[in-house]
Each structure stands twice: as C-alpha cells, then as structure tokens.
C-alpha cells in the first residue's frame, strides 16, 4: 500500500470505503492558572492524555533514570479536548503549558495547527507574553482572550490590545472560560480571522518539523 507519510493532504489510493478523517488542532496557551483547563472543559469532550516532559536539570538528580537509559523525560498529563464537528471532521484542543520547561513541546504542537488562543489574566498579563511572542514569530494565527476572573480588575479588550502591542489583525476579546457560549465566541472569532486572512502559502512553522 502506498501510504502517504509526508505532509500533505493526499489520500491513499484504494481507500475509497474508508471515511476520510480530517483532524485539526487548535492550541490553548497562556500562563499558569490562566484558565486553559477550564476553557477546554467548557467546550470539548475532555480526554485524558499523557505526554512527556523533559526532565529539568533540577529534577534530573532526583528522579531515577535507571532502566530508561538515555531518557530524560517524565510523564505528565496535558489538557486535551475533542470537538466532533462531523463524522469526518474533528477539532482537537491542546492546552500548551506556559512554563518554560514545556517549550520543547510547542513546536511539535504548533506544527500544522489551525491557530491558537492565548488566554490572559489581567492580574498577570506578562505571563502571556511568551505565548504572544511565540505565535507572532511563527505567524500562527491567534486570538487573545482575557479570562475575566470575578475578582480581577476590569480592563476592556482595547486596553489589553495596547498593553500587548498586538497587530491590528489579531483579535482581542474578553471571555469567561467557564461558559460554553463565551468560549464558542472565542473559537469562532479565531476561525473567522483565519478565514478572513489572505489565502496564500501557509505562513508558519514550515521551518520546524518536530524533532
């Protein structure tokens, strides 16, 4: 069978009876405690997903690596949700851990992603700077959603846009990560902005296939 292992949309020949499954990923980024888990749970079927975290030098002395020679990772759970659009079209949400020690995962997750949501908490706005920088650098379409915590001071979306110095084509909005309707608006805004963007060669991540 001529399976297609490279990038690209070409389907295998001779697979006529198999329904084509199109899977797209959207990243949910933001600092620790910004509400990524809450947002994923509000809109998708949450599923357990284990992945690996590279052991930091701090952890390396503590965690025994005996029996897994050469391994420098440990298993962690990540935020992962599935939105079934149709039988043949599925959207996956992946929470991207904001802490630096998870950064090695970003390129892999971002590769081929549809776009991203950067969740911001106005009390700790700078926590989302790395995410904004990352997606700007990679030209991956993204929206900034300010999660309105009950006890946080109120800023409007424009103030946040100015504070983050966002490009005009990057939507910024307020949201409540606990509410389906609010999260729906965030995701539809993202997809609309992708749809409105100039078609053309994919701008992003071509340089960095996962290692």
């Amino acid at each position: 069978m001529g399976s297609v292992r490279s990038d690209g949309a070409s389907m295998d020949d001779g697979a006529a009876d198999i329904p084509v499954l199109a899977a797209h990923k959207i990243l949910i980024a933001g600092g620790f405690g910004a509400g990524k888990t809450t947002l994923v749970a509000a809109i998708s079927e949450v599923r357990p997903l284990l992945t690996e975290e590279r052991l930091s030098s701090a952890g390396a002395g503590l965690d025994s690596l005996r029996g897994v020679a050469g391994k420098t990772t440990t298993t962690v759970a990540m935020d992962f949700g599935r939105i079934t659009i149709s039988e043949r079209l599925v959207l996956y949400l992946f929470g991207v851990p904001g802490q630096e020690r998870f950064w090695f995962m970003w390129d892999e997750l971002a590769y081929g992603a549809l776009g991203a949501v950067v969740l911001a908490d106005v009390r700790r706005l700078r926590d989302c700077f790395p995410s904004v920088n990352y997606f700007e650098t990679r030209s991956l379409p993204f929206v900034v959603a300010v999660n309105c915590f009950d006890d946080a001071p109120h800023y409007d979306a424009e103030e946040v846009r100015v504070a983050l110095d966002l490009d005009p084509d990057v939507p910024a909005m307020l949201c409540d990560a606990r509410k389906l309707s609010s999260v729906k608006t965030v995701l539809t805004t993202l997809v609309e902005s992708i749809s409105a963007a100039d078609p053309g060669p994919r701008r992003m991540v071509s340089a960095l296939p996962p290692v």
């Binding site: 499954l21 899977a23 809109i43 599925v90 996956y92 549809l114």
Partner: protein, 130 residues
C-alpha cells in the same frame, strides 16, 4: 506484561499504570522507522485482519489493542487517550505496526496549507451549533 493478555482487563485504568511506560516498548524510546507522528496524524489498519496473525510474537497486547482501535481511521492522540499510554509510547508501538504493514498512515499532518474556506466554514458552523 499481563499474564492474561487477552485484553489486559485486570489493568484497571484508575489504578494507574502497573509497569513503567517504556517497559511496553522494550525500553525503546524512538520509533523504529524514525518518523515522529503528529498528535493528530490519522492512521488506520491496513485492511484484512491487519496482519495481526502474521507475526504474533512481535506483537504485544498493547500492539494488538492499538490495532483494534485502528479498525477505523483514528488519530494518534485518540489512541494515546484510549489506551492510557503516553504519546511517546504510542508512537513507538505504531511505528512497529507500520513497519509490519499492519497499520498505515492516512495523513501525518493536518495540512501544510491552511484548510480551504469550505472546511473553515464547516468548522465555524459546527462550533456555532455546539
């Protein structure tokens, strides 16, 4: 390895893993074919019985479980979730099955190009209908 490997039922998920993750790969941490499948890569059993009977010695209960999930096109992330195995382990086991031609990759990445307007519209409509 479960002594009763028919479907590993005694390994209850809520008890957590009973072996360290890479024990089920024989300690291997890299896919045998060197290809790292994307989390949303779509794979499917390669027809027939998926070659499950060809070389049973080389297939562990985890291999067979993955093969069963591959009877329909399925993503790597869903396999990892359904088997409660870490993604890295699933990649290693899937690579074995791909080399055995029991499983084939329908599509590794979503697309290099942005999806077309029709797909984006379908996603939008789907989201609004939630």
């Amino acid at each position: 390895m479960p002594p009763d490997g028919r479907d590993g039922k005694w390994v209850r998920r809520d008890l957590g893993p009973v072996v360290r993750p890479y024990a089920v790969t024989g300690g291997r941490t890299e896919p045998a074919d060197g290809e790292v499948l994307d989390l949303v890569a779509v794979v499917v059993a390669a027809g027939g019985n998926g070659g499950a009977g060809d070389d049973p010695i080389r297939q562990t209960p985890e291999h067979r479980k993955i093969l069963r999930l591959c009877q329909r096109p399925v993503t790597v992330a869903d396999i990892a979730s359904d088997t409660a195995l870490p993604v890295g382990v699933v990649r290693v086991l899937l690579a074995d099955l791909i080399l055995q031609e029991a499983v084939r990759v329908v599509r590794n990445r979503p697309t290099v190009q942005l999806p077309g307007q029709d797909v984006l519209k379908e996603i939008l409509n789907g989201l609004r209908a939630l």
